[in-house]
Protein backbone atom coordinates (compact mmCIF):
# COMPACT_ATOMS: atom_id res chain seq x y z
CA UNK A 1 0.00 0.00 0.00
CA UNK A 2 1.40 3.42 -0.93
CA UNK A 3 2.41 5.57 1.97
CA UNK A 4 -0.14 8.33 2.72
CA UNK A 5 1.20 11.78 3.29
CA UNK A 6 -1.53 13.75 5.03
CA UNK A 7 -1.84 17.34 3.90
CA UNK A 8 -3.33 20.32 5.63
CA UNK A 9 -4.58 23.55 4.03
CA UNK A 10 -4.20 26.92 5.71
CA UNK A 11 -5.78 30.25 4.72
CA UNK A 12 -4.00 33.42 5.82
CA UNK A 13 -6.87 35.77 6.73
CA UNK A 14 -4.57 38.79 6.42
CA UNK A 15 -3.99 38.03 2.76
CA UNK A 16 -7.35 36.64 1.69
CA UNK A 17 -9.38 39.23 -0.25
CA UNK A 18 -12.28 37.00 -1.12
CA UNK A 19 -11.55 36.13 -4.76
CA UNK A 20 -13.39 32.88 -4.12
CA UNK A 21 -11.19 30.80 -6.37
CA UNK A 22 -10.47 28.28 -3.61
CA UNK A 23 -14.06 27.41 -2.80
CA UNK A 24 -14.95 27.21 -6.48
CA UNK A 25 -12.16 24.64 -6.96
CA UNK A 26 -12.50 22.70 -3.70
CA UNK A 27 -15.84 23.33 -1.98
CA UNK A 28 -15.22 20.56 0.53
CA UNK A 29 -11.97 22.17 1.72
CA UNK A 30 -12.96 25.84 1.89
CA UNK A 31 -15.94 27.84 3.07
CA UNK A 32 -16.70 31.55 3.04
CA UNK A 33 -17.77 33.87 5.83
CA UNK A 34 -20.56 36.43 5.55
CA UNK A 35 -18.22 38.88 3.80
CA UNK A 36 -17.07 36.29 1.28
CA UNK A 37 -13.63 35.69 2.81
CA UNK A 38 -12.33 32.14 2.95
CA UNK A 39 -11.51 29.83 5.80
CA UNK A 40 -10.74 26.13 5.83
CA UNK A 41 -13.45 23.60 6.57
CA UNK A 42 -12.86 22.06 9.99
CA UNK A 43 -9.17 21.70 10.81
CA UNK A 44 -8.06 21.90 7.19
CA UNK A 45 -6.95 18.27 6.99
CA UNK A 46 -7.16 17.16 3.38
CA UNK A 47 -9.08 13.90 2.98
CA UNK A 48 -7.34 11.30 0.79
CA UNK A 49 -8.13 11.91 -2.85
CA UNK A 50 -8.42 15.68 -2.52
CA UNK A 51 -4.68 16.43 -2.51
CA UNK A 52 -4.76 17.66 -6.10
CA UNK A 53 -7.67 19.99 -5.40
CA UNK A 54 -5.82 21.41 -2.42
CA UNK A 55 -2.75 22.07 -4.57
CA UNK A 56 -4.87 23.64 -7.31
CA UNK A 57 -6.55 25.96 -4.82
CA UNK A 58 -3.11 27.03 -3.62
CA UNK A 59 -1.91 27.61 -7.16
CA UNK A 60 -4.95 29.67 -8.16
CA UNK A 61 -5.28 32.00 -5.19
CA UNK A 62 -4.43 35.45 -6.60
CA UNK A 63 -3.36 36.71 -3.18
CA UNK A 64 -1.05 33.79 -2.29
CA UNK A 65 -3.22 33.33 0.81
CA UNK A 66 -3.33 29.52 0.76
CA UNK A 67 -0.63 27.18 1.94
CA UNK A 68 -0.69 23.42 1.64
CA UNK A 69 1.67 21.67 4.03
CA UNK A 70 2.34 18.20 5.34
CA UNK A 71 0.32 17.75 8.47
Amino acid sequence: MPEHKVLQVIVDPERCQGHNRCKAIAPSLFELDELGHARVVGDGMVPPGLEDKARLAEANCPEFAIKVAQA
Binding site: Q17, A59, P62
Partner: protein
Protein backbone atom coordinates in the same frame (compact mmCIF):
# COMPACT_ATOMS: atom_id res chain seq x y z
CA UNK B 1 -11.56 62.59 -29.44
CA UNK B 2 -8.79 65.14 -29.79
CA UNK B 3 -6.03 64.50 -32.29
CA UNK B 4 -2.93 63.15 -30.68
CA UNK B 5 0.60 63.07 -32.02
CA UNK B 6 1.73 59.63 -33.19
CA UNK B 7 3.80 57.59 -30.76
CA UNK B 8 7.52 57.69 -31.52
CA UNK B 9 8.71 55.28 -28.85
CA UNK B 10 6.47 53.06 -26.73
CA UNK B 11 8.95 53.00 -23.86
CA UNK B 12 9.30 56.77 -23.50
CA UNK B 13 6.24 58.21 -25.16
CA UNK B 14 3.45 55.64 -24.94
CA UNK B 15 -0.16 56.63 -25.42
CA UNK B 16 -2.79 54.21 -24.15
CA UNK B 17 -5.37 55.89 -26.37
CA UNK B 18 -3.32 55.35 -29.53
CA UNK B 19 -5.27 53.27 -32.07
CA UNK B 20 -2.61 50.56 -32.09
CA UNK B 21 -2.71 50.18 -28.32
CA UNK B 22 -6.50 50.05 -28.47
CA UNK B 23 -6.76 47.35 -31.14
CA UNK B 24 -3.67 45.22 -30.54
CA UNK B 25 -2.03 46.00 -27.20
CA UNK B 26 -0.54 42.61 -26.35
CA UNK B 27 2.43 42.79 -28.68
CA UNK B 28 3.33 46.25 -27.45
CA UNK B 29 3.23 45.05 -23.85
CA UNK B 30 5.28 41.94 -24.60
CA UNK B 31 7.96 44.09 -26.17
CA UNK B 32 7.93 46.55 -23.29
CA UNK B 33 8.16 43.74 -20.75
CA UNK B 34 11.36 42.58 -22.43
CA UNK B 35 12.90 45.96 -23.09
CA UNK B 36 11.58 48.47 -20.58
CA UNK B 37 9.35 46.94 -17.92
CA UNK B 38 8.34 50.33 -16.56
CA UNK B 39 7.51 52.53 -19.53
CA UNK B 40 6.80 56.23 -19.12
CA UNK B 41 5.13 58.99 -21.07
CA UNK B 42 5.05 62.75 -20.68
CA UNK B 43 1.52 62.74 -22.04
CA UNK B 44 -1.36 63.22 -19.59
CA UNK B 45 1.03 65.06 -17.24
CA UNK B 46 3.20 62.01 -16.78
CA UNK B 47 2.18 58.36 -16.59
CA UNK B 48 4.07 55.14 -15.84
CA UNK B 49 3.22 51.79 -17.38
CA UNK B 50 4.64 48.75 -15.57
CA UNK B 51 4.08 45.57 -17.58
CA UNK B 52 5.47 42.82 -15.31
CA UNK B 53 3.18 40.89 -13.01
CA UNK B 54 5.53 41.31 -10.05
CA UNK B 55 5.66 45.10 -10.34
CA UNK B 56 1.92 45.47 -10.88
CA UNK B 57 1.29 43.33 -7.84
CA UNK B 58 3.77 45.30 -5.75
CA UNK B 59 2.06 48.57 -6.69
CA UNK B 60 -1.43 47.24 -6.01
CA UNK B 61 -0.27 46.22 -2.52
CA UNK B 62 1.57 49.44 -1.76
CA UNK B 63 -1.21 51.82 -0.78
CA UNK B 64 1.26 54.05 1.03
CA UNK B 65 3.05 55.18 -2.13
CA UNK B 66 0.27 54.59 -4.64
CA UNK B 67 -3.07 56.26 -3.94
CA UNK B 68 -6.50 55.48 -5.34
CA UNK B 69 -7.62 59.09 -5.14
CA UNK B 70 -7.34 59.06 -8.92
CA UNK B 71 -8.09 55.75 -10.60
CA UNK B 72 -8.46 56.82 -14.22
CA UNK B 73 -5.83 58.52 -16.38
CA UNK B 74 -7.57 61.41 -18.05
CA UNK B 75 -6.47 64.20 -20.29
CA UNK B 76 -6.20 67.10 -17.88
CA UNK B 77 -7.81 70.35 -18.87
CA UNK B 78 -5.37 73.02 -20.03
CA UNK B 79 -4.53 75.47 -17.26
CA UNK B 80 -7.43 77.85 -16.73
CA UNK B 81 -6.37 81.37 -17.77
CA UNK B 82 -5.72 83.54 -14.73
CA UNK B 83 -8.50 85.99 -15.53
CA UNK B 84 -11.15 83.64 -14.20
CA UNK B 85 -11.52 85.08 -10.72
CA UNK B 86 -12.49 81.97 -8.87
CA UNK B 87 -10.80 78.92 -10.34
CA UNK B 88 -13.22 76.06 -10.24
CA UNK B 89 -11.70 72.69 -9.68
CA UNK B 90 -11.96 70.84 -12.97
CA UNK B 91 -14.92 68.52 -12.76
CA UNK B 92 -13.90 65.21 -11.33
CA UNK B 93 -10.23 65.83 -11.94
CA UNK B 94 -9.09 64.64 -8.58
CA UNK B 95 -11.89 64.35 -6.09
CA UNK B 96 -14.57 62.28 -7.73
CA UNK B 97 -15.25 60.23 -4.66
CA UNK B 98 -16.76 56.82 -5.33
CA UNK B 99 -16.08 54.85 -2.18
CA UNK B 100 -14.52 52.35 -1.87
CA UNK B 101 -12.71 52.38 -5.23
CA UNK B 102 -11.34 55.90 -4.76
CA UNK B 103 -10.62 55.44 -1.04
CA UNK B 104 -7.26 54.72 0.57
CA UNK B 105 -6.72 53.23 4.02
CA UNK B 106 -8.06 53.80 6.59
CA UNK B 107 -11.28 55.02 4.91
CA UNK B 108 -11.39 52.22 2.40
CA UNK B 109 -12.12 49.29 4.67
CA UNK B 110 -15.42 50.35 6.25
CA UNK B 111 -16.80 51.52 2.91
CA UNK B 112 -15.90 48.17 1.38
CA UNK B 113 -17.14 45.97 4.25
CA UNK B 114 -20.51 47.56 3.92
CA UNK B 115 -20.96 46.25 0.38
CA UNK B 116 -19.37 42.81 0.66
CA UNK B 117 -22.36 40.87 2.08
CA UNK B 118 -24.50 41.81 -0.93
CA UNK B 119 -21.92 40.29 -3.31
CA UNK B 120 -20.99 36.94 -1.77
CA UNK B 121 -21.39 33.83 -3.94
CA UNK B 122 -24.56 32.90 -2.05
CA UNK B 123 -26.13 36.32 -2.53
CA UNK B 124 -25.17 36.29 -6.20
CA UNK B 125 -26.41 32.72 -6.67
CA UNK B 126 -29.91 33.99 -5.98
CA UNK B 127 -29.68 36.14 -9.12
CA UNK B 128 -28.73 33.31 -11.44
CA UNK B 129 -32.22 32.30 -12.55
CA UNK B 130 -33.10 35.91 -13.30
CA UNK B 131 -29.88 36.32 -15.29
CA UNK B 132 -30.63 33.18 -17.28
CA UNK B 133 -34.07 34.52 -18.13
CA UNK B 134 -32.58 37.86 -19.21
CA UNK B 135 -30.13 36.09 -21.54
CA UNK B 136 -32.86 33.84 -22.95
CA UNK B 137 -35.11 36.82 -23.72
CA UNK B 138 -32.28 38.60 -25.51
CA UNK B 139 -31.46 35.56 -27.64
CA UNK B 140 -35.15 35.12 -28.52
CA UNK B 141 -34.99 38.46 -30.29
CA UNK B 142 -32.37 37.39 -32.83
CA UNK B 143 -32.16 33.59 -32.76
CA UNK B 144 -34.41 33.19 -35.80
CA UNK B 145 -32.21 35.49 -37.87
CA UNK B 146 -28.92 34.24 -39.20
CA UNK B 147 -26.85 36.97 -37.58
CA UNK B 148 -26.61 39.57 -34.84
CA UNK B 149 -24.19 41.96 -33.25
CA UNK B 150 -22.99 39.97 -30.25
CA UNK B 151 -21.88 43.16 -28.48
CA UNK B 152 -24.82 45.51 -29.05
CA UNK B 153 -27.64 42.96 -29.33
CA UNK B 154 -26.46 40.71 -26.53
CA UNK B 155 -23.41 41.31 -24.31
CA UNK B 156 -24.12 44.92 -23.43
CA UNK B 157 -27.66 44.24 -22.23
CA UNK B 158 -26.91 41.45 -19.78
CA UNK B 159 -25.14 43.41 -17.00
CA UNK B 160 -27.41 46.41 -17.47
CA UNK B 161 -30.50 44.34 -16.77
CA UNK B 162 -28.90 42.54 -13.84
CA UNK B 163 -27.60 45.66 -12.08
CA UNK B 164 -30.89 47.49 -12.71
CA UNK B 165 -32.60 44.58 -10.99
CA UNK B 166 -30.18 44.69 -8.05
CA UNK B 167 -30.57 48.43 -7.58
CA UNK B 168 -34.31 48.37 -8.17
CA UNK B 169 -34.10 50.66 -11.20
CA UNK B 170 -36.33 50.38 -14.28
CA UNK B 171 -34.77 48.13 -16.92
CA UNK B 172 -35.95 50.64 -19.49
CA UNK B 173 -33.37 53.12 -18.19
CA UNK B 174 -30.58 50.94 -19.55
CA UNK B 175 -29.98 53.22 -22.51
CA UNK B 176 -29.40 56.09 -20.11
CA UNK B 177 -26.87 54.08 -18.07
CA UNK B 178 -24.92 53.10 -21.15
CA UNK B 179 -24.81 56.69 -22.33
CA UNK B 180 -23.41 57.87 -18.99
CA UNK B 181 -20.79 55.19 -19.07
CA UNK B 182 -19.80 56.14 -22.56
CA UNK B 183 -19.55 59.80 -21.56
CA UNK B 184 -17.55 59.04 -18.43
CA UNK B 185 -15.16 56.34 -19.49
CA UNK B 186 -14.72 56.96 -23.19
CA UNK B 187 -15.52 60.48 -24.38
CA UNK B 188 -14.91 61.85 -20.90
CA UNK B 189 -11.28 60.72 -20.88
CA UNK B 190 -10.51 63.57 -23.20
CA UNK B 191 -13.55 65.83 -22.93
CA UNK B 192 -14.25 67.40 -19.58
CA UNK B 193 -17.64 68.68 -20.69
CA UNK B 194 -18.92 65.15 -21.41
CA UNK B 195 -17.56 64.01 -18.09
CA UNK B 196 -19.21 66.79 -16.12
CA UNK B 197 -22.51 66.36 -17.90
CA UNK B 198 -22.73 62.65 -17.16
CA UNK B 199 -21.89 63.27 -13.52
CA UNK B 200 -24.57 65.91 -13.16
CA UNK B 201 -27.19 63.73 -14.80
CA UNK B 202 -26.34 60.73 -12.64
CA UNK B 203 -26.42 62.87 -9.57
CA UNK B 204 -29.93 64.12 -10.36
CA UNK B 205 -31.13 60.66 -11.24
CA UNK B 206 -29.90 59.02 -8.04
CA UNK B 207 -31.18 61.86 -5.84
CA UNK B 208 -34.67 61.20 -7.13
CA UNK B 209 -34.26 57.48 -6.48
CA UNK B 210 -33.06 58.12 -2.94
CA UNK B 211 -36.03 60.36 -2.17
CA UNK B 212 -38.47 57.79 -3.50
CA UNK B 213 -36.82 54.92 -1.54
CA UNK B 214 -37.00 56.99 1.63
CA UNK B 215 -40.77 57.19 1.28
CA UNK B 216 -41.29 53.73 -0.20
CA UNK B 217 -38.48 51.31 0.72
CA UNK B 218 -37.83 48.40 -1.63
CA UNK B 219 -35.76 45.25 -1.36
CA UNK B 220 -32.93 46.58 -3.43
CA UNK B 221 -29.40 47.80 -2.87
CA UNK B 222 -30.40 51.45 -2.75
CA UNK B 223 -32.74 50.73 0.14
CA UNK B 224 -30.00 48.68 1.74
CA UNK B 225 -27.54 51.58 1.51
CA UNK B 226 -30.08 53.99 3.00
CA UNK B 227 -30.34 51.76 6.05
CA UNK B 228 -26.62 51.03 6.28
CA UNK B 229 -24.30 52.47 8.89
CA UNK B 230 -20.62 53.18 8.86
CA UNK B 231 -18.99 53.74 12.22
CA UNK B 232 -22.47 54.07 13.77
CA UNK B 233 -23.50 56.84 11.39
CA UNK B 234 -25.88 56.58 8.46
CA UNK B 235 -24.17 57.18 5.13
CA UNK B 236 -24.32 60.69 3.70
CA UNK B 237 -26.24 61.14 0.45
CA UNK B 238 -22.90 61.99 -1.16
CA UNK B 239 -21.45 58.66 -0.09
CA UNK B 240 -24.52 56.78 -1.32
CA UNK B 241 -24.54 58.55 -4.66
CA UNK B 242 -20.81 57.94 -5.09
CA UNK B 243 -21.24 54.26 -4.36
CA UNK B 244 -24.26 53.93 -6.65
CA UNK B 245 -22.35 55.63 -9.42
CA UNK B 246 -19.50 53.19 -8.85
CA UNK B 247 -21.75 50.12 -8.88
CA UNK B 248 -23.43 51.26 -12.06
CA UNK B 249 -20.19 52.09 -13.85
CA UNK B 250 -18.15 49.19 -12.50
CA UNK B 251 -20.94 46.71 -13.01
CA UNK B 252 -21.86 47.36 -16.61
CA UNK B 253 -19.02 48.23 -18.96
CA UNK B 254 -16.66 45.69 -17.44
CA UNK B 255 -18.89 42.66 -17.64
CA UNK B 256 -20.25 43.57 -21.02
CA UNK B 257 -16.67 43.79 -22.28
CA UNK B 258 -15.78 40.44 -20.77
CA UNK B 259 -18.77 38.67 -22.33
CA UNK B 260 -18.00 40.32 -25.66
CA UNK B 261 -14.36 39.22 -25.61
CA UNK B 262 -15.36 35.64 -24.82
CA UNK B 263 -17.73 35.58 -27.79
CA UNK B 264 -15.12 37.24 -29.99
CA UNK B 265 -12.70 34.46 -29.09
CA UNK B 266 -15.24 31.69 -29.54
CA UNK B 267 -16.35 33.07 -32.92
CA UNK B 268 -12.80 32.50 -34.13
CA UNK B 269 -11.99 29.21 -32.40
CA UNK B 270 -14.17 26.41 -33.52
CA UNK B 271 -12.39 23.81 -31.39
CA UNK B 272 -12.95 25.76 -28.21
CA UNK B 273 -16.63 26.22 -29.12
CA UNK B 274 -17.03 22.53 -29.72
CA UNK B 275 -15.28 21.60 -26.51
CA UNK B 276 -17.45 23.85 -24.42
CA UNK B 277 -20.58 22.43 -26.03
CA UNK B 278 -19.53 18.81 -25.56
CA UNK B 279 -17.71 19.26 -22.23
CA UNK B 280 -19.77 21.85 -20.34
CA UNK B 281 -17.89 21.00 -17.13
CA UNK B 282 -14.92 22.88 -18.61
CA UNK B 283 -16.81 26.17 -18.43
CA UNK B 284 -15.39 27.38 -15.08
CA UNK B 285 -11.80 26.89 -16.28
CA UNK B 286 -12.59 28.49 -19.62
CA UNK B 287 -14.14 31.55 -17.97
CA UNK B 288 -11.04 32.05 -15.81
CA UNK B 289 -8.84 31.71 -18.88
CA UNK B 290 -10.88 34.26 -20.85
CA UNK B 291 -10.67 36.58 -17.85
CA UNK B 292 -6.91 36.15 -17.80
CA UNK B 293 -6.27 36.53 -21.49
CA UNK B 294 -8.81 39.28 -22.19
CA UNK B 295 -8.94 41.01 -18.80
CA UNK B 296 -11.00 44.09 -19.51
CA UNK B 297 -10.02 46.44 -16.68
CA UNK B 298 -6.93 48.66 -16.34
CA UNK B 299 -6.99 50.80 -13.23
CA UNK B 300 -4.71 53.66 -12.26
CA UNK B 301 -3.01 55.04 -9.19
CA UNK B 302 -1.46 58.36 -8.34
CA UNK B 303 2.04 58.34 -6.88
CA UNK B 304 1.51 59.71 -3.38
CA UNK B 305 5.16 59.54 -2.34
CA UNK B 306 8.26 59.10 -4.44
CA UNK B 307 9.48 55.49 -4.48
CA UNK B 308 11.04 52.81 -6.67
CA UNK B 309 9.48 49.63 -7.98
CA UNK B 310 11.29 47.05 -10.06
CA UNK B 311 14.36 49.26 -9.91
CA UNK B 312 12.55 52.21 -11.51
CA UNK B 313 11.83 55.54 -9.84
CA UNK B 314 8.23 56.78 -9.55
CA UNK B 315 7.84 60.54 -9.15
CA UNK B 316 5.26 62.03 -6.82
CA UNK B 317 1.94 63.19 -8.37
CA UNK B 318 2.42 61.31 -11.62
CA UNK B 319 -0.06 58.61 -12.56
CA UNK B 320 0.49 54.87 -12.96
CA UNK B 321 -1.53 52.67 -15.26
CA UNK B 322 -2.18 49.52 -13.27
CA UNK B 323 -2.63 47.08 -16.10
CA UNK B 324 -4.03 43.85 -14.75
CA UNK B 325 -4.38 42.78 -18.40
CA UNK B 326 -0.61 43.15 -18.86
CA UNK B 327 0.11 41.30 -15.60
CA UNK B 328 -2.01 38.43 -16.91
CA UNK B 329 0.16 38.14 -20.03
CA UNK B 330 3.48 37.91 -18.19
CA UNK B 331 5.22 34.67 -19.24
CA UNK B 332 7.13 34.61 -15.93
CA UNK B 333 3.88 33.73 -14.21
CA UNK B 334 1.78 32.18 -16.97
CA UNK B 335 3.46 29.63 -19.24
CA UNK B 336 2.39 30.19 -22.85
CA UNK B 337 0.91 33.46 -21.70
CA UNK B 338 0.02 34.50 -25.23
CA UNK B 339 -2.05 31.40 -25.86
CA UNK B 340 -5.64 30.96 -24.75
CA UNK B 341 -5.88 27.48 -23.22
CA UNK B 342 -9.44 26.96 -22.04
CA UNK B 343 -8.41 24.07 -19.79
CA UNK B 344 -5.56 25.93 -18.09
CA UNK B 345 -5.70 24.56 -14.55
CA UNK B 346 -3.16 26.81 -12.81
CA UNK B 347 -4.29 30.33 -13.39
CA UNK B 348 -3.58 32.86 -10.69
CA UNK B 349 -4.82 35.72 -12.87
CA UNK B 350 -5.38 39.25 -11.64
CA UNK B 351 -8.34 40.32 -13.79
CA UNK B 352 -10.26 41.40 -10.69
CA UNK B 353 -7.32 43.24 -9.21
CA UNK B 354 -5.03 42.39 -6.31
CA UNK B 355 -5.03 43.44 -2.69
CA UNK B 356 -7.54 45.53 -0.80
CA UNK B 357 -9.49 46.74 -3.84
CA UNK B 358 -10.24 43.25 -5.20
CA UNK B 359 -13.34 43.63 -7.33
CA UNK B 360 -16.41 43.47 -5.14
CA UNK B 361 -18.43 42.37 -8.13
CA UNK B 362 -16.20 39.42 -9.07
CA UNK B 363 -18.72 36.76 -8.05
CA UNK B 364 -21.45 38.61 -9.89
CA UNK B 365 -19.33 39.10 -12.99
CA UNK B 366 -18.31 35.44 -13.10
CA UNK B 367 -21.91 34.35 -12.77
CA UNK B 368 -23.05 36.70 -15.53
CA UNK B 369 -20.26 35.66 -17.90
CA UNK B 370 -20.88 31.97 -17.27
CA UNK B 371 -24.64 32.19 -17.71
CA UNK B 372 -24.35 34.41 -20.77
CA UNK B 373 -21.97 31.95 -22.46
CA UNK B 374 -23.96 28.88 -21.48
CA UNK B 375 -27.22 30.31 -22.78
CA UNK B 376 -25.57 31.51 -25.98
CA UNK B 377 -23.85 28.19 -26.71
CA UNK B 378 -27.03 26.23 -26.02
CA UNK B 379 -28.93 28.21 -28.60
CA UNK B 380 -26.13 29.23 -30.97
CA UNK B 381 -23.44 26.56 -30.77
CA UNK B 382 -21.80 27.50 -34.05
CA UNK B 383 -21.01 31.01 -35.23
CA UNK B 384 -18.30 33.08 -36.93
CA UNK B 385 -17.27 36.69 -37.14
CA UNK B 386 -19.28 38.23 -39.98
CA UNK B 387 -16.36 40.45 -40.93
CA UNK B 388 -13.26 40.63 -38.75
CA UNK B 389 -12.49 44.14 -40.01
CA UNK B 390 -15.76 45.52 -38.66
CA UNK B 391 -15.01 44.60 -35.05
CA UNK B 392 -14.24 47.69 -32.97
CA UNK B 393 -12.72 47.95 -29.46
CA UNK B 394 -13.30 50.45 -26.70
CA UNK B 395 -10.44 52.58 -25.44
CA UNK B 396 -9.82 53.74 -21.91
CA UNK B 397 -9.91 51.84 -18.65
CA UNK B 398 -12.25 49.12 -19.90
CA UNK B 399 -11.40 47.13 -23.02
CA UNK B 400 -13.86 45.05 -24.96
CA UNK B 401 -15.51 44.73 -28.38
CA UNK B 402 -18.07 47.43 -29.08
CA UNK B 403 -19.12 46.17 -32.52
CA UNK B 404 -19.10 42.42 -32.94
CA UNK B 405 -21.15 41.26 -35.93
CA UNK B 406 -21.42 37.48 -36.06
CA UNK B 407 -23.19 35.04 -38.39
CA UNK B 408 -24.75 31.82 -37.17
CA UNK B 409 -23.87 28.65 -39.02
Amino acid sequence: MTDRPPVSDWAKDFDHLDPRWVTEPYQIWDELRRQCPVAHTERYNGVYFPSRYADIRAIAYDTEHFSSRRVVVREMPPRVPTDSAKPKSPPGASTLASPPITSDPPYHRPARMLLLPAFTPDAIGRLEAKTRAICGDLIDRFASNDRCDAATDYAQHVPVAVIAHMLGLPEGDGEKFRRWIHLLLHEGIAENASFAQALAEMDDYFRVQIVSRRSVPGEDLITFLLGAQMEDQPLSDEHIIGTLRLLLIAGIDTTWSAIGSCLWHLAQHRDDRRRLVTEPALMPLAVEEFLRAYAPVTMARQVAKETTVGGCPFKEREMVLLSFPAANRDPEVFPQADRVLIDRAENRHAAFGLGIHRCIGSNLARMEITVALEEWLTRIPDFDLADPASVTWSHGPVRGPRKLPVVFR
